[in-house]
């Protein structure tokens, strides 16, 4: 069952938070709502859930208008940022809760809770107290609880934001594996580009209450609709090509070359950031003064003030590479 949003608007005290959102969340697809704070992504998620009423527009669950239906009457699964597990119930009690309030007999709900816990690999934790679980385990219980009543849509609000970087990467992979086979639309909110790209089939980038761009992670990264999108989903330098057009260059598209090799640009380095697996050079094109960022090998011995030749690698995607964009002669000489 697809979820469709038609012309959704939301105003808080005369301030427009959402300005006419049209979207489809297809079944079996993970859609990530990405955007900076205040872009309206959580409000949009809560409108889908029925927790926040829309000021205008319609929410359709498989063609059925549920705009005026309250959250408790919609068939949704919602995973909260802090998981919101019930502290007085065991793991099994939490997962059984949505079945209990729907009047499912005790025996059946125990079995269904066991099945849901098995999906998230928590079957052995059924009788455990919530307080004894780690953050990752709590998240899995929250997902099992959200899925046990066969919802029409699974919604996740910033599921990884409370985790430290190492754990975050591992949980992201686990979450991706959990969400991938689900037959319902999955909508996930995050402000983190890496989480979005790691989890999404489709990314919707919201900016100031509107959709700045929607597409696959590859689309957003390689063919950003505008400069704001390009900068939000990664480090972007904008340079002017021979024809006078501003063009996007990603740091990883540039590589250092030797003094006798052919090069595409001479870069004056202002700052060198050691990133562990690589070095990030921040500076400007020597001749034009345009800002540029390049990622180079961690072995290169570089310092602020150096002028180095850079060459563009050919990109796999549809985006133009610096060589194509600038042309060697036009850029450097």
């Amino acid at each position: 069952m697809d979820i469709t949003l038609q012309g959704i608007t939301k105003n808080f005290a005369q301030s427009a938070v959402l300005r006419g959102i049209d979207l489809v969340f297809p079944s079996g697809t993970v859609t990530v709502l990405l955007g900076p704070s205040g872009s309206g992504k959580t409000t949009l998620l809560n409108i889908v859930a029925g927790l926040v009423p829309a000021s205008g527009g319609r929410v359709l669950f498989g063609g059925k208008d549920v705009t005026a239906v309250p959250a408790e009457a919609r068939r949704i699964g919602y995973v909260f940022q802090n998981h919101a597990l019930f502290p007085h119930l065991t793991v099994s009690g939490n997962v059984e809760f949505p079945l209990r309030v729907r009047g499912v007999p005790r025996g059946e709900r125990r079995q269904r809770a066991r099945d849901a816990l098995a999906i998230v690999e928590m079957a052995g934790f059924a009788e455990r107290d919530i307080a004894t679980l780690s953050g990752g385990q709590r998240q899995r219980v929250a997902i099992a609880r959200a899925l046990v009543a066969n919802p029409d849509v699974l919604l996740l609000d910033e599921p990884l934001s409370a985790l430290d970087p190492q754990l975050r990467e591992r949980i992201r992979e686990e979450l991706r594996a959990l969400l991938e086979p689900l037959p319902v639309p999955v909508v996930l909110v995050t402000h983190d580009q890496q989480d979005a790209f790691g989890l999404a089939d489709q990314v919707v980038l919201l900016h100031d209450g509107t959709i700045a761009q929607a597409g696959t992670p590859r689309d957003l990264y390689l063919c950003p609709a505008n400069e704001a999108v390009a900068r939000f989903v990664g480090v972007a330098s904008y340079l002017i090509d021979a024809a006078g057009t501003r063009r996007l260059v990603r740091p990883e598209d540039l590589e250092l070359v030797g003094p006798t090799d052919a090069f595409d640009a001479l870069m004056r380095i202002d700052r060198v950031q050691f990133m562990g697996d690589r070095q990030r050079l921040i500076g400007s094109v020597a001749e034009t003064g345009a800002s540029i960022v390049a990622d180079v090998s961690k072995e290169a011995r570089l310092a602020a003030g150096d002028i180095v030749p850079l060459r563009a690698r050919r990109s796999d995607g549809p985006a133009t590479t610096p060589r194509e964009v600038f042309g060697r002669v036009a850029l450097v000489r």
Binding site: L51, E72, F80, A84, F86, P87, D129, A146, A149
Partner: protein
């Protein structure tokens, strides 16, 4: 010591010029700590001893007898039974209102909910006399009956029944749990009974016991709203201290205190269990969520 060893010997650093203050506080601390219990214990001791005294006059106390207690029991028996019933009814009604009201004020985003929550606190700052006068003017047809006393006691004790519940709901982050309940399909009644009550019953019991104690010992509004047929124990005690032998009054006061002991025990037990429970939860969470840090060798070479 090896250059790699870590010296973890405790070092005492005393701020300059604070030695005298520390010594002074050391001297007065026992007085400050013991003053309040002693101030409370002295009158209780006098009441207790006086209630068993054969005579109590300007020369002091003398002799031991149970006659005062028997006479006092006869004088306050009916009032104690009535006050027990009144306080029990007050505690039940106040708690039945306090829990859903606290839940509504904590989860409602409407100003009306918060306004109602604020209104509940009004009797704390208003004198009981004013409340009694207002009730007499508003409900003249209830005067002389027990219902007007019940209304007055419920209104006066409601804030005290509600505060422990509000506090428990704040710690619980009930707004998030309520929202979670909504997304899982629970109706408002199911959220109250299945999510809120199981988490706040101990606080609700504390509030109920507090409400019971306050109602049982209430005199301010009861003096105005009571009648010859419905005289709460507080009114009888006031009457006794003004008009009767002080040995009888003391005995009546001791009986009054004995009647309050079960409620005080409930308050102490529920508060004590609450403290124990919260500690256990914190420990379980912290021991599991955080990895153990490598230990530093405190002695010898590292």
């Amino acid at each position: 010591m090896s250059p790699l060893s870590v010296d973890l010997a405790p070092t005492t650093v005393r701020p300059p010029g604070r030695g005298a203050a520390v010594v002074l506080w050391g001297a007065i601390e026992p007085i400050v700590v013991w003053l309040a219990p002693l101030l409370l214990a002295a009158p209780l001791l006098f009441l207790f001893v006086g209630s068993f005294a054969r005579s109590w006059d300007s020369r002091g106390l003398s002799g031991v007898t149970l006659a005062n207690m028997a006479e006092a029991f006869e004088a306050v028996r009916e009032s104690i039974v009535f006050s027990w019933m009144l306080a029990l009814g007050t505690a039940i009604i106040a708690t039945a209102i306090a829990v859903p009201l606290a839940y509504a004020t904590r989860t409602s985003s409407h100003r009306l909910g918060r306004f109602l929550g604020g209104m509940v606190d009004l009797p704390v700052i208003l004198p009981a006399l004013l409340l009694a006068m207002g009730l007499m003017l508003a409900y003249p047809f209830l005067q002389g009956g027990w219902i007007i006393l019940l209304i007055a006691h419920v209104v006066q004790t409601l804030p005290f029944a509600m505060w422990p519940v509000v506090s428990a709901l704040s710690v619980l982050d009930v707004a998030t749990l309520d929202t979670a309940g909504r997304t899982l399909g629970a109706s408002p009644f199911q959220r109250l009974t299945l999510l809120v009550l199981p988490n706040v019953w101990r606080s609700a019991l504390t509030g109920a016991a507090t409400s019971f104690v306050l109602s049982f010992s209430e005199t301010g509004s009861s003096l105005f709203l009571g009648s010859p047929y419905y005289r709460p124990i507080g009114v009888v005690l006031v009457d006794s201290f003004i008009n009767q032998d002080q040995r009888i009054s003391a005995a009546a006061a001791v009986l009054f205190i004995l009647c309050l002991l079960p409620a005080l025990a409930i308050i102490e037990l529920t508060l004590g269990n609450g403290r124990k429970g919260s500690k256990a939860r914190t420990e379980a969470t912290s021991s599991h969520d955080f990895p153990s840090f490598p230990k530093i060798n405190q002695g010898g070479n590292a």
